[in-house]
């Protein structure tokens, strides 16, 4: 078993957070995992992306030349990374912020979901990242949602614990949208 995914957007979108959450969930399932973030020196607005590799074998390079799955949360990320996706791979697009007319790869499975819009409709724009993580898990169930839930509960304690249900709802919504999206 081997899965890799690159998630890209800008600082403040919570990209590194969902990448890390995915990695922690994989660790919980006793899989080998590497989480490699790459970000600008700015706190907000700079580029932010991460690569997560999950495998039941030893992982060679944490840096992946052509990830099988790519999540682009911003137009800038699409511009920079669309060309890198592995031939016939999966591209998950945040159609709220990405100019979908500019998508050019014909070989890819592409799913367009307006993550920011869906999040706003659910009542909080901040959960766009969790919906995106859900969309990824809907298409590539590499870890169980129970593992994600367990990690969320571990990370959101005290006052923050009240946000667990909303996060889980957002992930579930993402899975649902991915399943409805058609694609392949």
């Amino acid at each position: 078993m081997y899965a890799d995914v690159m998630m890209a957007g800008f600082g403040g979108q919570g990209i590194l957070l969902i990448g890390n959450l995915l990695a922690e969930a994989a660790l919980l399932e006793e899989l080998n995992v590497t989480y490699l973030p790459s970000y600008g020196v700015e706190m907000r607005g700079g580029t932010a992306n991460c690569t997560v590799v999950i495998s039941d074998q030893e992982i060679g390079s944490p840096q992946v030349s052509a990830p099988e799955v790519m999540l682009v949360m911003s137009e800038q990320a699409r511009e920079r990374f669309e060309a890198n996706v592995k031939p016939n791979g999966l591209l998950i697009v945040n159609s709220t912020l990405v100019d979908t007319g500019k998508l050019s790869r014909k070989d890819l499975e592409i799913i367009n979901i307006p993550f920011n819009q869906v999040a706003s409709e659910m009542g909080n724009a901040k959960f766009a990242n969790m919906i995106a993580l859900g969309a990824y898990l809907g298409k590539r169930p590499v870890v169980k949602t129970e593992s994600i839930e367990k990690m969320l509960k571990e990370q959101l304690t005290g006052k923050k614990a009240e946000f667990v249900p909303m996060n889980l709802k957002a992930i579930a919504r993402g899975i649902e949208l991915a399943n409805q999206s058609g694609g392949r």
């Binding site: 995992v33 590497t34 989480y35 490699l36 020196v41 992982i59 390079s61 944490p62 840096q63 992946v64």
Partner: protein, 345 residues
């Protein structure tokens, strides 16, 4: 790394913030006091290295961590540690480029680390981890070697290892630390001891310097570490260290699947450098490819080791970007076809 240091008996951490190694200081600030140790964010890099010196001279295990520009500032103190024969562990998570550079992976400080770094005729032991697990393992080794030889030890990592997360197995805490009959803890009931690098008597200065050199030769004889990967029948040996070696390993694996006889030699100690082992490899193989995230630094050590006994090709990227295994495989592959397949014809 921070937890591994605490488990290795380190009870003093002094540092000054710089990306990409702030996670070490952050962890230390919380957990060092819990372990009964001392965490101080000093007013500068220079202050922090002298705080390490102060703690070390009492016999305690002490460390600091920084990144390239900060390490440059610490070099004077590292020279003093070497001159006074004091153990210390220094973590350098290298940044890209001279000056401030960026925070991506780079191996541009190889020369600075392996040639002593500061002023004077001395060496620091340099350990280069290739993964987060190895960073943990080498942290314990670093404290052991520092005490054994009473010498500063540098762990030379880079932004890739500094920022990456992966699962690790942590060692058991060290229970007994070595006795230090040179430590200064108050001379009540015994003759005074001294720790200094200022020796005005000409003959004694030379004696001291020879003593240091004898120690360095002993380290060279005993402490060389390296990893060999698929070298038995290799027609081309790739030499790489740290993160670059991990990427190179992926490339070698890929090329082996295609039937190319390539292998990887990874120095773990950059000083002492495995010169002799590389020279031996040249008996079986006449093609070497050095891959670094700089414009050619370890390359010089490999060339010195081979002294013309094999061909050396260099592929380097001078920091800022990390090539992927595919990029590196292409370079190794094309060199292989040029040199080995052509010769076979």
């Amino acid at each position: 790394m921070a937890e591994a240091a605490i488990r290795a008996g380190c009870r003093f951490y002094f540092g000054y913030p710089i990306t990409p190694q702030n996670e070490v200081a952050e962890y230390m600030s919380e957990h060092m006091p819990e372990a009964g140790g001392t965490f101080i964010q000093a007013e500068s890099e220079i202050a922090s290295i002298y705080m390490v010196l102060g703690a070390s001279v009492t016999g305690a295990r002490a460390m600091t961590s920084s990144s390239s520009p900060g390490i440059s500032l610490k070099q004077e103190g590292i020279s003093f540690l070497a001159g006074q024969e004091l153990p210390a562990v220094i973590l350098n998570v290298m940044r890209g480029g001279p000056g401030l550079g960026n925070i991506a992976g780079c191996q541009g400080d190889y020369f600075q680390a392996t040639r002593g770094g500061g002023h004077g005729d001395y060496k620091t032991i340099v350990l280069a981890p290739g993964s987060v697990q190895e960073l943990v393992d080498l942290t314990g080794v670093a404290f052991e070697l520092a005490d054994k030889y009473r010498n500063p030890v540098m762990i030379l990592a880079d932004g890739l290892i500094g920022q990456m997360r992966e699962p690790v197995v942590l060692p058991e805490p060290v229970k007994h630390l070595p006795e230090k009959d040179w430590a200064l803890r108050g001379a009540k009931g015994r003759p005074s001891r001294f720790s200094r690098s200022l020796i005005l008597n000409v003959r004694r200065m030379e004696e001291h310097n020879w003593k240091l050199q004898r120690k360095f030769r002993e380290i060279e004889a005993n402490e060389i570490r390296f990893e060999q990967y698929l070298l038995e029948d290799a027609k081309l040996v790739v030499v790489a260290f740290g993160s670059a070696a991990r990427v190179a390993k992926g490339a070698v694996k890929r090329l082996r699947k295609e039937g190319l006889k390539v292998g990887l030699f990874r120095p773990i100690t950059l000083w002492p450098f495995p010169h002799k082992k590389i020279r031996e490899l040249a008996n079986e193989c006449s093609e070497f490819l050095v891959y670094e995230l700089n414009a050619g630094q370890m390359l010089e050590d490999v060339k010195l080791a081979l002294s013309g006994s094999a061909e050396v090709f260099f592929y380097g990227r001078p920091g800022g970007v990390i090539p992927t295994p595919m990029d590196v495989a292409k370079i190794i592959g094309s060199r292989y076809y040029q040199r080995i397949k052509r010769k076979a014809k």
